[in-house]
């Protein structure tokens, strides 16, 4: 019998895309999908160990008051589990060590990068080597973007996906690497997975608004070296049905939205012997 896939969508302190993300996990075929408030983890009522697929949804953790997801990252590192010697971060790192899947979208991606979960060279998941900062425009924007997906990547979430068209909805989405060598290594190791592109989803672009935030090398999403941790600024959970597409009333579109494939890949991978 195929392995059960249990998905957790972690919420609280300002996340706001948890419902559609859970819906995506369900449509993708997860056997169980739980929206779990972080307090349930901190009170020991729920444990990450009971899941295979962790979803970190978009939103404004703590209002992004200290910079996007900064206070959220601080909480994940320092918060302890009640009546236990364990810290929340212990559960996180065990989850990662076990080879389970983590997907961070928008604020979830910002959280992963600022924690050091991405790109995490040499398996060092505590060292921040990149960041997501204010869009060059200096403003929050909601707009749909064309995305080119790299093929030569370990990322398990984007297998067989060549292109996507998804909305970005952020004010701090500009990807910046610590230095050139980090950037070079990201490309070399196939960790740059998603790039803002032209309307054909072929060539990466730096021009606004196709590249909505001025991201270095048009980076929109990256994975870790195992390909099991993946984060991106655009919202795959925002395009699950054709009526989500901004031009669905004028284009012939398949019933299923393009974003669902990301979640289906995750669920299928967990069911596969590779997991």
């Amino acid at each position: 019998m195929a392995r059960k896939v249990r998905s957790i969508v972690l919420t609280g302190n300002g996340t706001n895309c948890e419902r559609e993300m859970a819906h995506a996990c369900r449509l993708a075929g997860s056997d169980e999908v739980d929206i779990v408030h972080i307090s349930e983890l901190l009170y020991g009522e729920k444990r990450l160990d009971d899941y295979e697929f962790l979803n970190l949804p978009g939103g404004f953790l703590d209002g992004d008051d200290l910079g996007s997801a900064k206070a959220g990252a601080n909480r994940l590192i320092h918060a302890g589990i009640r009546e236990s010697s364990e810290k929340l971060s212990d559960q996180f790192f065990r989850f990662i060590r076990d080879g389970k899947l983590v997907l961070g979208v928008c604020n979830g991606f910002q959280l992963m990068v600022k924690l050091g979960l991405l790109p995490a060279f040499d398996g060092d998941y505590l060292k921040q080597t990149a960041t997501l900062t204010f869009n060059d425009s200096g403003r929050f924007e909601d707009r749909w973007v064309y995305l080119n997906i790299l093929r030569d990547t370990p990322c398990v979430f984007t297998r067989d996906i060549e292109r996507m068209y998804l909305p970005v909805r952020h004010g701090e989405g500009k990807f910046v690497a610590k230095n050139r060598s980090v950037l070079r290594r990201l490309h070399l190791q196939g960790q740059v997975v998603v790039r803002y592109s032209d309307a054909k989803c072929l060539d990466a672009v730096m021009e606004y608004p196709l590249n909505p935030n001025g991201a270095t090398d048009a980076v929109a999403g990256i994975c870790d070296e195992t390909g099991r941790l993946f984060g991106l600024m655009p919202h795959p959970e925002a395009y699950l049905h054709r009526t989500n597409h901004p031009r669905w009333t004028r284009e012939n579109l398949p019933e299923e939205g393009m974003g669902l494939a990301v979640f289906r890949n995750a669920v299928d991978f967990i069911r596969s012997p590779e997991f």
């Binding site: 996340t15 895309c17 703590d62 008051d65 900064k70 929050f140 910046v176 004028r250």
Partner: protein, 993 residues
């Protein structure tokens, strides 16, 4: 001990915020500066070691990849001017609060025993050849709002980075002694009014006298003695009464008795506009629906409730936050949106919030005349309001699905900031309906969410007055969307576990209003203000009771469930405090500790306000008939029209609002080939596993008030309904909200034309009654804001009377929704509905400097027939695009249809159904109501035309593959030939900032 941590960007890292500020300095203030950089400052009070400060700076407070930090020294270097902007004492500092929590967690949690406070400020480091005077202008005119912020300016020449800026702690210095003042009302009339004015009570002489008389009753005095109260009224009591009786809360004008007379003769007496026209219409519509009635809760709760399907109800409310937004646009608007969020959230058992809708009315952002005293530049109001709503809506995770911006220079004195929110709730919980409130004596009063501070004191009474010299600055608040989000996350869990009996929000009037209103159900309450959690010490009892500090809900909790409720709150990181209990004593009883500080009869508190008696006199204004020639170049005229502020694209604002979060967006505010056409209304799908949808639309046309508010209101209602039909909605399941924003309509020395303004109000209500019934669109809730005037010294500015009519409609299958963009070349173009020479109050007349008299009029019976036919055609799938004609008329609707679709079009005005029109420009720009531009595929022609049979419609042209917009005039000659991208550019350019 006080320390400062500064965080700035590393060299070579782009500072997008600094660049944005630089652009604004150049664009708004016309000052040339070379460069602006920003530095965030955290001023930390408390005993922290050097090592700990560095850990905080390095950890949560800065990003090591792009930022650097300094402790107790200055980061800035090589500048001409440094401006540091921080909050004044007591102003909500959301970032400071988050920083405090993060540092406490870093240092081992709050239980570590050390308490710290964090205050934030921001430095703007400017390079450029400007002097101190210009730096002052940048500080006061752009960066800091003097009401809530203070600033320091340092010249680069005087700068010592080793010392940096001195630490400044904006701590609230409160008095420690608790005082309850007693006020003697046995004084002269003049002194009574003086008491009302001095305390910002906004009570009239009649009302002050009613209060005085209540305190003369021997029965009342005897009861007071039993509670240890004297013969004089306490400040707690007086403030509670003023708040409860405020225009804002009691709608005294809408409930007044009005003698209305028309010049021509008609003369009637209206006992409450609200009962007669608004509730009256809804009552009649509901009676007519009989068993099919889908209204569930109207006019009794914080928001209206209708049925969505068997298992879910919809909740909708729109509010205004005009006066606070005039003083502090950012904080006022932010508070407006997070405030209205709490209305559906505090209705019945509470609804999950699913959409926001915002409508703003401003003066032109390009205003270039001297500004009257205390008025901020309209551009600053525009940017501030936009940003406040952005932060409030986006951070709450609620999509802003539609809205609009209306411009008229009379909104200079008070901008209008309408914020609306819809919610969805399960129809039943544990088998009990969720749309009603049930509170029993003995239920515990619990307050949850944020703490109480001095913010927002006198908001309710302040907004019941015009903006004047003495308008209190304490009325200004800044909302905190994340505290509210945490609270609503918690309360939705508590609701689903059925841990409370009823919920309401703390808005205007604070606890006084929330507890006072709830106490009406069981018939009394007893609360102890000493138990209320405060932001800082030093609040007097009346301030605790009246404070409008945000992000708080009040609940009635079954005593058996209180423990479970409090435990859940604590777990989810939300404060919840028991303040007292509901009773059936008939008393509004307030204690501070053991001592009674207020005890009023519930009946007097809620029903003691005397009914106003007012006169209204209608004399139809007569404007000079316009006389200007037909434009020589109608194409150029069209471009100028497309660039009018009321017509042009609002994309730059729309894009900054998240309109898709929650995953149910179907028709977005921006549609068409390039995702930039103007959607007529929003369609959303609130339940992701269903295709049932909601249509959200609005109508607003204040310009028509210059001629006749009756038709202004009729047109607003028609516009909302028309927009609903245009996107695929249908008559039969549309509910409305009426939001009146008026200028003071009470005749007085200050308002010599009060009788006319009141007549305008009467007429708008008459139209509301007539047209909501005609369309079968019941109002389910609403609001009025009656004092939208500005009066300082000799300058008085009154807004044009404005009705925002917002609707929420049910759509059975969102896959049939429609958008306004032309879909393919070769499609046929139709105009539906008749065009009359109705240009009174139109954009075309306004552009030419006229008002006119022929205001558009709505023929509801004909419109209804057309709307039904069009809905059926859209449902049958024979329509390719549908766009309503509104501001700018047919020409604007056609042009928008063309350029949004990325196609050209050729139309012939001779084919347009019209009555008595002999000028091409009148046909192009008339604003006759109930009209649409529709395109269809040629093969659908027969079916479409047969479905529209019996209505006025005509085929007028064809969609072209070439991007050219061609119009043939009534005389048969070509009068317009324009590139659609040139038209689009004219439409997009004005507000692209």
């Amino acid at each position: 001990m006080v320390n400062r941590i500064e965080v700035g960007f590393r060299k070579g890292v782009r500072d997008a915020m600094g660049e944005k500020v630089r652009r604004r300095i150049i664009e708004n203030l016309h000052l040339d500066v070379e460069d602006v950089r920003t530095v965030d400052v955290y001023t930390i009070e408390g005993n922290l070691r050097k090592r700990e400060l560095t850990a905080a700076a390095r950890g949560p407070l800065s990003d090591p990849i792009i930022q650097r930090h300094a402790v107790n020294r200055g980061l800035a270097e090589g500048f001409d001017w440094l401006i540091e902007v921080g909050f004044r004492p007591g102003v909500t500092d959301n970032v400071g609060k988050t920083a405090r929590e993060a540092i406490e967690l870093l240092l081992g949690g709050r239980r570590g025993g050390r308490s710290i406070n964090v205050y934030t400020s921001r430095q703007y480091i400017i390079r450029g050849g400007i002097g101190r005077e210009e730096a002052e202008r940048i500080a006061s005119g752009l960066l800091a709002n003097d009401l809530i912020e203070h600033y320091d300016i340092v010249s680069g020449r005087d700068w010592n980075p080793a010392k940096g800026m001195p630490a400044h702690v904006p701590r609230v210095m409160g008095e420690d002694d608790i005082r309850v003042e007693e006020i003697d009302l046995r004084v002269s009339e003049g002194e009574l009014l003086e008491i009302s004015n001095r305390r910002v009570l906004a009570l009239s002489l009649g009302e002050m006298e009613a209060i005085r008389d209540y305190f003369r009753s021997e029965a009342v005095l005897q009861e007071r003695r039993a509670f240890g109260l004297g013969e004089r009224i306490t400040d707690v009591e007086l403030e509670s009464l003023a708040q409860t009786w405020s225009e804002h809360c009691k709608h005294k004008i809408f409930n007044s008795r009005i003698a209305y007379a028309e010049e021509a003769g008609q003369s009637i007496v209206i006992d409450s506009l609200f009962d007669t026209f608004i509730k009256g219409s809804t009552r009649e519509i509901r009676e007519k629906m009989g068993d099919e009635d889908w209204c569930l809760s109207v006019f009794v709760d914080n928001a209206g409730v209708i049925k969505f399907n068997e298992d879910h109800n919809l909740v909708f409310k729109v509010e205004t936050h005009n006066s606070p937004s005039a003083l502090d646009p950012y904080g006022g608007a932010l508070t407006g949106i997070v405030g209205v969020n709490r209305d559906p959230f505090g209705t019945g058992k509470g609804a999950r919030l699913i959409f926001n809708t915002d409508v703003f009315c401003f003066a032109t952002p390009f205003y270039d005349r001297p500004l009257p005293k205390r008025i901020l530049h309209p551009r600053r109001i525009y940017e501030g309001v936009r940003e406040g709503v952005e932060h409030g809506g986006n951070k709450s995770g609620i999509p802003t699905v539609n809205g609009c911006i209306v411009f008229d220079d009379r909104f200079l004195g008070k901008p209008l900031v309408y914020c609306g929110t819809g919610g969805i709730m399960p129809a039943r919980l544990d088998g009990e309906p969720t749309h009603t409130k049930d509170i029993r004596a003995g239920d515990v009063i619990v307050m949850t969410g944020g703490r109480i501070g001095k913010d927002g004191i006198h908001g309710a009474t302040f907004s019941s007055e015009e903006l004047h010299e003495g308008s209190p600055v304490t009325a200004v608040q800044i909302g905190d969307p994340i505290t509210q989000k945490k609270m609503t996350d918690f309360l939705l869990v508590a609701r689903d576990r059925n841990l409370y009996r009823a919920i309401t929000d703390n808005g205007a009037g604070g606890l006084s209003s929330s507890v006072g209103e709830m106490a009406r159900l069981p018939g009394g309450c007893e609360i102890d203000l000493q138990k209320a959690p405060l932001k800082y010490a030093g609040l007097q009892p009346w301030e605790i009771l009246l404070s409008e500090a945000q992000e708080r809900m009040t609940l009635a909790v079954d005593p058996r469930k209180v423990d479970a409720f409090i435990i859940l709150a604590e777990k989810m990181g939300v404060e919840a405090t028991v303040l007292g209990r509901f009773t059936d004593s008939g008393k509004f009883h307030v204690l501070y500790g053991e001592k009674t500080v207020a005890c009023l009869d519930m009946a007097f508190l809620h029903d003691g306000v005397p009914q106003l008696e007012l006169r209204a006199t209608w004399a139809a204004p007569c404007h000079e008939e316009p006389g200007f020639p037909v434009p020589a170049d109608p194409g150029k005229a069209l471009k100028t029209m497309l660039s009018r502020l009321n017509i042009c694209s609002k994309e730059s604002v729309v894009r900054q609002y998240d309109h898709e979060v929650q995953g149910g967006s179907v028709v977005k505010p921006l549609v068409g080939a390039m995702n930039d056409g103007p959607g007529d209304a929003a369609v959303i799908r609130p339940l992701l596993d269903s295709f049932e949808g909601i249509v959200v639309a609005n109508g607003i046309c204040p310009r028509y008030s210059d001629i006749d508010t009756y038709h202004m209101a009729a047109c607003a209602i028609d516009e909302a309904v028309r927009n609903t039909i245009a996107v695929g909605g249908s008559l039969g399941r549309i509910a409305g909200l009426d939001n009146f924003c008026w200028c003071d309509p009470v005749q007085s020395e200050k308002t010599p034309d009060g009788e006319y303004k009141l007549a305008q109000l009467v007429r708008a209500n008459q139209a509301l009654y007539d047209y909501t019934r005609a369309y079968g669109v019941p109002c389910i809730s609403g609001k009025d804001s009656m004092k939208n005037d500005y009066q300082i010294e000799d300058t008085k500015i009154s807004i044009p009377p404005t009705l925002l009519f917002s609707t929420i409609g049910k759509m059975d299958d969102v896959r049939k929704a429609m958008t306004m963009d032309a879909k393919a070349a070769g499609h046929l173009i139709y105009v539906l509905g008749d065009t009359y020479p109705e240009l009174g109050g139109s954009e075309w007349f306004a552009m030419n400097g006229w008002v006119g008299n022929e205001v558009p009029k709505v023929d509801a019976e004909r419109a209804k027939k057309l709307y039904s036919a069009l809905s059926r055609a859209i449902d049958a799938g024979v329509v390719a695009s549908c766009h309503d004609c509104s501001d700018g008329g047919l020409a604007v609707a056609l042009a928008e249809t063309a350029f949004s679709g990325g196609f050209g079009m050729a139309v012939d005005l001779a084919c347009v159904p019209a009555q008595n029109i002999d000028r091409d420009d009148y046909l192009l720009f008339s604003e006759s109501q109930s009209r649409f531009v529709v395109t269809i595929a040629p093969e659908a022609k027969d079916v479409f035309e047969s479905m529209l049979q019996g209505n006025t419609f005509a085929e007028i042209g064809e969609v072209l593959v070439e991007p050219v917009f061609i119009v043939k005039g009534m005389g048969g000659e070509k009068i317009i030939e324009e590139d659609i991208y040139a038209l689009k550019e004219a439409w997009q350019k004005p507000l692209r900032f």
